[in-house]
Amino acid sequence: MIGQGRRQKTHIIALGTITFLFVLTLAGCSGIKLISEYDRETDIAVTAFQKKMERFLIFLERNIGKEKVEYKNNTGFYDGIRVDLSAIRVRASAIPKNEITIQQIDLLIKNVGNLESIHKLGISQEDIPPLRTAFNGSCTAILKLELTKKRDTH
C-alpha cells in the first residue's frame, strides 16, 4: 500500500515536471499567447460598420415620417450590413484564439436583427438615441479589445 502511494506521488511529480517543461517549450522565444494577435482588417471593418450604422441612424432620424424611411424601402441596407458582418465573422473565425471577438461579432449580428425587427414594427424619433448608444457601445468594446491585442512588444 505504502509502495503504491509512493509510486503515485512520483508519477504526479513527474507529470508536473513534464507539464512545466512543456509549457516552457511552448512559450519558446515568442512567449505564450492566450488570445489572438491584433488584426488590422477587423479594426478597419468594425470601424466601417460603425460609420455605416451611424449614417443610417442619422438618415432615419432626419426623415422619420417620410416614405423613404419605411422598412420596405430600406431592405437593401440590412442586406448590405449583414454581408459586411458576415465577412468580418468569417475573417475573425480564421484567426486562432479569436473566440471572444467572434462572440462579439455574433452579438452585433443579433442586434442588427433586432434593429430590423424594430424597423418593421415602425421606428420613431425617440427610438434612435438608445439604438445609437448601443451600437456605438458595441463597436467601441470590440475595437478596444482589438487594439489591446497589439500588445507591448518591448
Partner: protein, 107 residues
Amino acid sequence: MDVSELVSDMLIAARDVLGRRWPEAKGYAETAFVQIAEAILYIETQRALGKMSQEKARLHLDIQKNTSKTVMLTLEGLELVAVEAAINAALKVIKDTINKTLGFLLI
C-alpha cells in the same frame, strides 16, 4: 423608476457574482448597467404614453443586453492579455537561469 437605484441593485448583484474580479470589472459593469437602466426607463416612458408595444420593448431591452455582453467580453479579453503578459514576464525573468542550468536554449 429610478435609474440610479436600478443601477445600484444591478451592481450589487454583479459584485457578488464577480467576486475577486470586481475591481477591474466595476467600471465596465457600471457603463453597461447604466445603458440597460436607461433603456428600461425609456421603455417605461414609451409604454406609459402608449407608444410602444410589448414586442418592441423586448427588442429594445435585448439590444442593450447584447451590448452589455459585448462590453463584458472585452473585459474578459483584456484580462487574458494581462495574464499572458504576466506569464511571459515571469518566463523572461527565469529564462537565462533555466537555459544555463539545462545547457541548451529551452526558453
